[in-house]
Amino acid sequence: MDLIPTPSQTVGPYFHLGLTGGRSVARVAGEATKGERIALTFRVLDGDGAPINDAMIEIWQANAAGKYRHPDDPQTAPIEDDFWGFGRLATAEDGRCQFETIKPGRVPDSRGVLQAPHINVTVFARGLLRHLCTRVYFADDPANRQDPVLALVSEERRATLLLHPDPGRAGHWLFDVHLQGERETVFFDV
């Protein structure tokens, strides 16, 4: 059997009522979570380069050992009590939102090739009839060169998937989501 899945519809402008506000998750890692502490600031921009103040970002990531907190992850590395790997925030007036987390470890793909550290990102907004999926990678990480998913992306667009270090603040990383335009972010059909 292959039932038709229920189609997506836009979150609209009032999703804060049900999904963020008291339901936001800005801190992805707890006090005891192992790994390099990082802050990720996303900014969501439309085709005119204007910030979008009614978008929502969700992130999903592995822990520092490259293990997801999920029964379908068969790896032997342990999960951690205070790390779920999920974050969710609405963008502010300037189109930004900021997560505090840890840098994830490397996760194998289905052939056993280790992927570079990455965070899975979902973008929702008024005007998006379906959510968009992308991944963010760390610009300075040498593992990016062997990453099997980055390898699917043409070289000139690969940079749209890179988090860049915030020059003034150690451990802070910046990422612009361009929904359209010359610097349109690469989105994946997941």
């Binding site: 059997m1 039932l3 038709i4 085709g47 379908d72 194998p108 793909d109 289905s110 699917l152 997941v190």
Partner: protein, 242 residues
Amino acid sequence: MSKIQNATGPLIAPYRRPQPGSQPELLHEPYRSTIRRAPSKPPILLPHTLSEVTGPLHGHEEIGETDNDLTRQHAGEPLGERVILSGRVLDGDGHPVPHTLIEIWQANAAGRYFHQRDQHPAPLDPNFSGAGRTLSDANGGYRFVTVKPGAYPWRNHYNAWRPAHIHISLFGPAFATRLVTQMYFPGDPLLALDPIFQSIRDERARERLISRLDMETAQPEWALAYRFDIVLRGRDATPLEA
């Protein structure tokens, strides 16, 4: 299909891709906000890895006692037509999806959201916030009590009115099964005029978004009921060979 994965990688049974036309196109010009927000380049097909077949799971500790009854979240009862909304969450094979988080939000009976940015001059209801959440049970079943939301104007075009709807968000078992959608009511003449509903080409897929009157669940002298089953993506039974 039936070959076992080579020994070096984790077994990955991928989720199936939706049939063409069964999801809305990102660029649907009658819905004007898509014009400057829909990506113009085609997405890159991502073969599933652990990153896509895992996803956030949620527990009962996150659910409060009145979270699934939007009529009992304040001192008094909200105005409007009380309704029971229930159904099942299923996967593409028709199997239940248990213990998954379902979140809803909606306008009040007058068509006004309890939200700062909603300036529609219809009354707010001090007894209605319009947000709820629950977990599906072991059989995929869920149930909310709420009031039927009103239609409201939205400036997309001249005299544009959204059909009455309830926003629904689900996680399912994986990053790949995430779904945010809207549930509509049967027989609403505004559906034919609504660019958001009409953004889905396949009529059978569109019909999935319309609940049906459910007289078996309706409670005499108390509340009408609507049934809305939600189908998440199916999954291949056997890991694909890499």
